[in-house]
């Protein structure tokens, strides 16, 4: 009786949280999935019609969708690799050579706290062909100003650079915290055995850091897939469609064309992609960490 009462109490206690979770998490996902399988207008007085996979088929036949997906993948891979490299190098440097004060640590991670819209506007200003610092420098040297955002190749790398500036501290923070939490014993043993710094990093520290790096990559990849604000502010997806990432594609479908079905279908694709990556990262993290030691 007591045990039964205890279970009921537990259920009563977890019920509000569960309901909240369903409402906040599961319901929007369900709604999005439902919209992707139906034809409805949020403006006209039309009823919702089930259309099966029509929106998905239509998406897969659109070059602009594949282009957006390709750009999102390229953006995600390039920003993750560059930021991971910078973050790991800085973290290792500080870990082995220069332990820094809390103040410097805060300074290093400061860009991470800049709002994406502010960061986007700042970089747009830097690249501004009329008033931006780059333009002023070029004019001072009596050259015609350049505008990376006007070039279909450089505009993409301009948004990558903005993301690297803003987000590398995030990876640094995760990796540095991981480094600080590593047990010193394996490193000390390796030192006694005569391991060089390079060998120590490659064979002891980095393998031990693998779960941390996996988490950092996972979080960064998911963040990159969703990136929208700064790109919208800097290029609006242009010139042409050279920076039209998948998130911009979704917004355009939903709020420019008012086509909720195709927008939801693209969101579902993005969701599946994100979930697959999250699952992969979880698998990587749960694998044995190192053979060393």
């Amino acid at each position: 009786m007591k045990r039964h009462f205890s279970h009921r109490s537990m259920l009563i206690f977890i019920l509000p949280g569960t309901v909240l979770l369903i409402v906040l998490l599961a319901w929007p996902i369900f709604q999005s999935a439902f919209s992707s399988l139906s034809e409805q207008s949020h403006i006209a007085n039309s009823s919702t019609e089930f259309v099966g996979l029509m929106h998905f088929k239509s998406l897969l036949s659109q070059n602009s969708f594949w282009n957006s997906l390709w750009l999102a993948a390229t953006f995600t891979v390039s920003t993750t690799i560059i930021e991971l490299a910078i973050a790991t190098m800085v973290a290792l440097f500080l870990y082995f050579h220069k332990p820094v004060s809390r103040f410097v640590e805060i300074l290093l991670i400061l860009p991470m706290f800049v709002l994406p819209v502010v960061s986007g506007l700042t970089f747009r200003y830097i690249y501004d062909p009329n008033d931006g610092p780059l333009s002023v420098l070029f004019q001072y040297l009596n050259y015609e100003p350049i505008s990376p955002l006007a070039d279909s190749f450089w505009s993409f790398w301009a948004i990558v650079l903005q993301d690297v500036w803003r987000m590398w501290p995030f990876l640094f923070l995760v990796i540095y915290a991981g480094l600080k939490a590593l047990p010193k014993s394996a490193q000390e043993a390796a030192r006694i055995d005569g391991a060089t710094s390079k060998a120590l990093i490659w064979h002891i520290v980095l393998p031990a850091l693998r779960p941390t790096i996996a988490i950092a990559i996972g979080l960064k990849v998911m963040e990159s897939l969703k990136v929208f604000t700064e790109v919208y502010v800097m290029t609006g997806g242009g010139p042409g469609d050279s920076t039209s990432l998948i998130s911009l594609f979704v917004v355009k479908q939903a709020f420019h064309f008012f086509q909720i079905g195709p927008a939801s279908a693209a969101s579902v694709v993005l969701l599946v992609l994100g979930m697959t990556l999250a699952w992969t990262v979880t698998k990587m993290q749960s694998q044995p960490t190192t053979k060393a030691g």
């Binding site: 403006i43 062909p129 015609e144 100003p145 042409g240 709020f255």
Partner: protein, 424 residues
């Protein structure tokens, strides 16, 4: 103690009862875009509120967000009584808006005195759902101080064998642009090249110069190629960085005195004559757009009433007040781009704001964008092909074919709806 407590309780109940009997003031909810005129209108609102003993909730948000906010508002049943919306959105929202013919207390002369193209902005398939609150024409401006400079005149005449004057056609526009091209200090033209509705407007203006008229299903590919070749030449007189210019960049370049001429909307003219925002105050000439036929493009914002609004009569009065000649004349000196012909042609206002009459002339010559339910999508196809060509992602042939197909698609959709309506 008991009596004191009871006294406080009685007072509380009395206050509550009084509060319940008093009706809250009627509120009219308005959603519009933010600019100079919305600020001026906000200041004028107390006049309306006092006259009708109502409160006006006036939400002005960035122009680019109005349609999105309107869509989300309507999706949840609608909370606003009055919406101001840009004309390309009229077909999509029309079913949710009250036709003007059904507006209560509509004064007989309300529809008169407007520019015809601005009035037509509120129409789709012959049904009007609003009155124009902001009238814009895409038109030509130039640096009149440079055009009247004797040395410039001499040099220009020597090179092009004609007088330096605002161009009458596209070849003259190019010649003038080439004449003033002196990088990095001065450029001949400021294009609109950043993908948005603005690039569609720039493209339609360009094509109109080569004979395109909206709805023309027989547009020739060769004309599109010719237009792009011309624009390519025009782009060589603009800064290299101008291949991703939105309004901000191009108006900034002009206001800094680095551009000799351009096409733009009249809503920007007020800022060009503001000494806090412009280095070319008093130096701008406003002229008829170059081209023999319709080469100006009209684009107006329209105030509409939501179907099912509980305040349709009040909303109707509000829009009539907003667009009245009296209030419009008050708002023009504060930055309103009016759609009223009778205000644009007022001699006293023209003495102060020389672009008003030119705007009227350009309105007369203007054309409207094709109108159909999928306009935003076809506009995006045009804009994308045009900007991909500008950015070098497509060559002229590829871009022309893409544009040609998109134009035919756009015209077919516009005509299709008309035909369907005629059949019904």
């Amino acid at each position: 103690m008991f009596h004191e407590t009871m006294g406080v309780l009685k007072l509380f109940l009395l206050t509550l009862a009084l509060g319940c009997t008093q009706q809250p003031p009627r509120t009219l909810k308005v959603l519009t875009f933010r600019d100079r005129q919305s600020n001026a209108l906000r200041q004028a609102l107390p006049q309306f509120e006092a006259e009708y003993s109502v409160r006006v909730q006036f939400d002005d948000i960035p122009a680019s967000s109005v349609a999105t906010k309107m869509m989300t508002d309507l999706a949840s049943g609608g909370t606003y009584d009055v919406y101001a919306l840009d004309e390309p959105f009229i077909p999509q929202f029309q079913s949710k808006l009250l036709p003007v013919s059904a507006w209560p207390e509509l004064q007989p002369n309300t529809m008169s005195g407007f520019e015809e193209k601005a009035l037509r902005a509120a129409e789709f398939e012959g049904l009007s759902v609003g009155l124009p609150v902001n009238g814009n024409v895409y038109q030509y401006i130039f640096r009149k101080d440079l055009f009247s400079n004797s040395e410039e005149e001499r040099e220009f005449e020597k090179k092009f064998k004609r007088k330096l004057a605002p161009p009458q056609n596209f070849s003259e526009l190019l010649e003038t642009a080439q004449h003033f091209y002196r990088p990095p200090r001065m450029y001949g033209f400021a294009p609109f090249t950043k993908m948005s509705e603005g690039t569609t407007v720039e493209l339609l203006w360009l094509l109109a110069g080569f004979g395109y008229t909206p709805g023309d299903k027989t547009i020739q590919l060769s004309k599109v190629i010719e237009a792009l070749n011309f624009y390519e030449q025009l782009l060589t007189t603009a800064p290299k960085s101008a291949r991703a210019w939105h309004h901000t960049e191009r108006m900034s370049a002009y206001a800094k005195g680095r551009v000799a001429q351009m096409m733009t909307w009249n809503s920007f003219f007020f800022d060009l004559e503001d000494e806090y925002k412009s280095l070319v105050v008093g130096k701008t000439g406003y002229a008829q757009s170059p081209g023999n036929s319709s080469t100006s493009l009209a684009g107006s914002w329209v105030a509409s009433i939501r179907k099912g609004s509980p305040e349709t009569a009040l909303a109707s009065k509000f829009i009539q007040w907003w667009t009245s000649p009296k209030l419009t004349s008050q708002l023009v000196p504060k930055g309103l781009s009016t759609a009223r012909r009778d205000v644009l042609t007022q001699p006293e206002l023209n003495g102060q704001f020389p672009w008003l009459n030119t705007t009227h002339i350009n309105f007369e010559r203007a054309f409207l964008r094709p109108r159909h339910l999928d306009y935003r999508k076809t506009s995006d196809q045009l804009s994308q092909a045009f900007t991909r060509w500008i950015a070098g992602q497509l060559n002229t042939r590829q871009a022309s074919e893409a544009l040609h197909n998109a134009l035919i698609d756009m015209n077919r959709l516009a005509a299709g709806r008309d035909n369907q309506k005629r059949a019904n």
